[in-house]
Symmetry: C2
Subunit: 341 residues, 2 copies
């Protein structure tokens, strides 16, 4: 006879007891702001706090700010005996032991930083870390658009495109925390040059930056002088993905072309994800998705052109639900995910 | 206090007891042959048996042949009280409940077949099923080139290209058993038309069929009349990937071009796998890999051109180790993987 007891907090199999610690601190590091929260196991958040990252002051400064933010959160909570750990989401790759090993170019001096040791030492609490979009995917899985499904992939359409993967109900970080670089999947052979060195990466077309760049490029080349084209020509630097989607709403012909290009490339990357992982659900989030259902509809329409139809038929593509707080909630959720508590 | 006991046979944590059933039957269904084996938990195989599939006689006939093959294996073993279940690997997608829901075009009448109920009914044994390459990946993970790593992806370069995925030490089948269609990842925009309906799928370039097709195409177009080109022109239908690699050994210039094209496309699909999943190891197997290290070397050389270099640096690309028996061993391994025993 062999005992088989699975420890799976996310399946809700564990009953809380009075003595159980049920709060986690989440920290989400962005290029502009550092966010912190104290979160309950069911996703309820309190003391949400935001401070400037001041990335230009270097890695040690960021780490000091994180420590101060945790101090402040514990002060706000008033007591720390219910806090079972600290989770940190950061841009870049985070190795098993919590060292940032690369991929965080907009944070000078951040590569090489050991994230967890200082937190553990200062607070005597367990600590966990992951890529910020990996954390975001975890939050969507537990508290947002991924609830109730076993396999889901999250694409965060922001300045770039980040990815997060939850498979068989568990967060998948990959070896050395490097999985989910879905924005750098090549969707157009010899396509637009990407900052990563490759050409034709999905994020060159489907991120906020990519969409604005394509709008500028089309406005330069087109003979149709639509309202969007005039706006671009007036002040190309001011164009954002939001501008483009404001004109999509007005059925601007060139805006619609930009939208179709972005959606086509997103459908291609979703098709690759489908053929590789056949998830139940792909969740699109990030700033670009403030445009909402119009992107989902076009990606869904094009998806069967880019993977097995049998898989496309069984894969839902939906909007993220947690918006701006997904990152910080996911960071806190890492604690419940990874630690005995 | 919460008890945390993980049941992980593949980590070897479970000690055998005298009363424990430790044998599994594996069945590997191919277009030409059905293979069966009785396997111990450590991968030791006995009574390996092969019978013709006779695919043209339809799905019910195949199922009857599988039943007869299992009967024969149990007879050979002499007793069944140590057998804890039957695992079946089949082409196509196999749903949770063991129904073939598509993707097995070379087996007419196979789609819709319920694989497990007849086996359970006839033998009173637990039964499990999976896609054949998924099973192969499991065998490589447990007994072959994937031993000792946590995350691995297997590509079987045969008539097509199949894929199998083991993540965080567990077989990943995807929703509805449809994950791992890695041969149909598009690696060339508007590339060669694939049987699946897409264009530019990896298997159009890197499978045995793809390599032979490219050799024929190059022989038709080239002005270099090398020995390979003469061989193709003499009898195009006789060319296989083995022919091509025999000429690669002789440094035939056109054979080397075919090899470079195939390796480039394999490197692209490996790059996508790296960026998405960042596995510890990618294992290349199947008939094409009888050519061996020459393909590995070229794919490894090209990989950093197709994903983050930090990921490429940390991903090993190696040859499969179990050759022709990986499928049937993996089918048997499904039993140990999926069932309490």
């Amino acid at each position: 006879m062999i005992f088989c007891i699975f420890f799976a907090p996310h399946y809700g199999l564990i009953k809380k007891t009075a003595s159980m610690k049920h709060l986690a601190i989440g920290i989400d590091l962005g290029g502009t702001n550092l966010k912190g929260v104290i979160m309950e196991q069911d996703g309820a958040c309190r003391h949400l706090t935001r401070v400037p990252t001041e990335a230009d002051k270097g890695g040690q400064h960021i780490l000091d700010t994180i420590i101060r933010l945790i101090v402040r959160l514990i002060e706000k909570e008033g007591k720390s005996n219910q806090i079972c750990g600290v989770g940190i989401g950061t841009p870049g790759f985070v190795d098993e032991d919590g060292t940032v090993i690369g991929g965080a170019e907009n944070l000078p001096g951040w590569k090489g930083t050991q994230l967890l040791a200082p937190v553990r030492k200062r607070f005597g609490l367990p600590a966990a870390a992951a890529n910020d979009v990996t954390a975001m995917a975890l939050a969507e899985a537990r508290f947002g658009a991924g609830q109730g499904v076993r396999n889901m992939v999250c694409l965060a359409l922001g300045t770039g495109i980040g990815g997060g993967i939850v498979l068989d109900g568990r967060l998948y970080k990959g070896s050395h925390g490097m999985a989910g670089e879905l924005g750098h999947i090549v969707v157009e052979t010899n396509g637009i040059q990407c900052t990563c060195g490759l050409k034709g990466c999905a994020e060159r077309y489907g991120s906020a930056t990519g969409i604005a760049d394509i709008a500028r490029q089309m406005a330069e080349q087109t003979s149709q002088v639509t309202a969007l084209v005039r706006a671009v020509r007036r002040n190309p630097a001011k164009i954002t993905s939001k501008t483009v989607y404001d004109y999509v709403k007005k059925q601007d012909a060139v805006a619609l072309q930009v939208h179709e290009t972005a959606s086509e490339m997103l459908a291609r990357v979703c098709g690759i994800i489908c053929n590789a992982l056949s998830p139940d659900r792909i969740i699109l989030g990030g700033g670009v998705m403030k445009a909402g259902q119009v992107i989902i509809d076009e990606v869904v329409r094009r998806l069967p052109n880019h993977c097995w139809e049998a898989i496309a038929d069984r894969t839902e593509i939906v909007c993220a639900q947690l918006s701006d707080n997904a990152g910080v909630m996911g960071a806190a959720a890492l604690v419940f995910e990874e630690m005995p508590h």
